[in-house]
C-alpha cells in the first residue's frame, strides 16, 4: 500500500507500524512516530495498523535553539 512518509509517497508491504518502520530502514534508530498527526508511542507501534494514504511522520533528535 502507499503511505506518506515524512511528506514523500512510499510503498510498504507491512500493515503494522513496527514492521513498516523496519521495512523503511529505521530498525534500531532512535525515532518518534506520529500517524495522521497523532503521536504513536514506541510501545504502541506493534499494535498500530496502517491504512492506504496514512501520513507517517518519523522524527529524530536534531540541533535546536
Amino acid at each position: 500500500m502507499q503511505i506518506i512518509v515524512n511528506g514523500d509517497t512510499r510503498e510498504v508491504a507491512a500493515p503494522v507500524l513496527a514492521e513498516a518502520l523496519a521495512e523503511l530502514g529505521y530498525a534500531g534508530a532512535v525515532v518518534a512516530t506520529a500517524v495522521n498527526e497523532a503521536f504513536v508511542s514506541a510501545a504502541a507501534r506493534a499494535q498500530t495498523l496502517l491504512a492506504e494514504g496514512d501520513r507517517l511522520e518519523i522524527l529524530a533528535p536534531m540541533q535546536g535553539g
Binding site: 515524512n6 529505521y26 532512535v30 518518534a32 529524530a60 536534531m62 540541533q63 535553539g65
Partner: protein
C-alpha cells in the same frame, strides 16, 4: 532556585543549532561549562540519518537536554511534538514554543497558555517561551508552569533586552518562579544585564554559534552570566541624576 528540581552548575543554557560543525558545538559546550542544552526534533531520513549521530554526540556531553517545539504554530502541533520529544529524549522537560508571527517569531500567547495547560496536565515540566506580559505569565503559572522564559528580543536578532522595564516588573511579580531570558541575546553584556535584573538564567544560541570563535564566545558568556549574577546578589547601587564625589571632601587641602 531550581528548575523542576534540577539545580544547574551554570546559569547559561545553550542552544545546539547553527554551529559550523558538531566538534565546534562540543567545544563551545565544554568551554562554557554548561549543563543544559536545547535540542529539537526533525524528520529523519533513515537508520543512518543525521539525527542518530547528533544524539550520540549530545549524550556524550553528559548534559541535561531541553527539547523544544520550535517551528510549531498550533497548539496541536506543539502538543504532539512535545509528546514525541518526551519519548525520544527521555525527559519530561519541554521548551514550549507556539509561534504566532512569522517576521518576529513572536509567541502566540493564547496558544501557548492552552498548550501549557494540556502538557502540564500530562505531566510535562514546561519551560514556556513567552513575551514579558504579566498577565500571560499569570496564566502560565496557573496552568502549572514552574519556570517562565520571556524573550529579550526576537529570536536570532541579537538585540539584547528590548524591554528591561517589563523584565524587571516580571521579576518583581514572580520572586519565587525561576525566570530565564530566552532569545534575542547578542552579546555577553546583554546576558550580564539580564542576570543583574535578578534573572535566574539565560538561554541563547545564535550569539555563540555564529561567533567567529564559538568556544571563546561561549566562555565569554559564561563569565558574563556569572558576573551578572554575582552583581545581583551583591546588591547594586541606586543610580542618581546628580554627581556625588566618591573621594571624601573632608580634609581636602587648600592649595590655590
Amino acid at each position: 532556585m531550581d528548575f523542576y528540581g534540577f539545580i544547574p552548575r551554570s546559569r547559561l543554557f545553550l542552544g545546539t543549532a547553527q554551529y559550523p560543525s558538531p566538534a565546534v558545538l562540543q567545544r563551545a559546550v565544554e568551554a562554557a561549562g554548561v549543563d543544559v542544552v536545547t535540542v529539537s526534533l526533525r524528520r529523519e531520513a533513515g537508520r543512518l540519518g543525521g539525527g542518530q549521530d547528533f544524539w550520540a554526540l549530545i549524550r556524550g556531553l553528559g548534559v541535561r537536554v531541553l527539547p523544544n517545539t520550535a517551528g510549531c504554530h498550533s497548539v496541536k502541533e506543539a502538543v504532539t511534538t512535545a509528546q514525541m520529544a518526551r519519548e525520544v529524549f527521555g525527559t519530561p522537560w519541554i521548551k514550549l514554543e507556539v509561534i504566532g508571527e512569522a517576521d518576529t517569531l513572536q509567541p502566540d500567547v493564547f496558544g501557548l497558555t492552552e498548550a501549557a495547560r494540556i502538557l502540564c496536565a500530562e505531566g510535562f515540566e514546561v519551560f514556556p517561551y513567552m513575551t514579558e506580559d504579566l498577565v500571560v505569565a499569570e496564566r502560565l503559572v496557573e496552568a502549572g508552569c514552574r519556570v517562565l522564559m520571556p524573550w529579550g528580543a526576537p529570536i536570532g536578532t541579537g538585540k539584547g533586552l528590548n524591554n528591561p522595564y517589563g523584565l524587571r516588573a516580571l521579576r518583581a511579580h514572580f520572586p519565587d518562579i525561576p525566570l530565564v531570558v530566552d532569545a534575542g541575546i547578542g552579546l555577553p553584556s546583554h546576558a550580564a544585564a539580564a542576570m543583574e535584573l535578578g534573572y535566574d538564567a539565560v538561554l541563547l544560541n545564535t550569539a555563540v554559534a555564529k561567533a567567529g570563535d564559538p568556544a571563546a564566545m561561549a566562555a565569554a558568556f559564561a563569565r558574563a552570566v556569572e558576573a551578572g549574577r554575582l552583581a545581583f546578589e551583591a546588591g547594586p547601587m541606586e543610580p542618581r541624576d546628580m554627581a556625588a564625589p566618591s573621594t571624601p571632601v573632608l580634609g581636602r587641602a587648600l592649595l590655590g
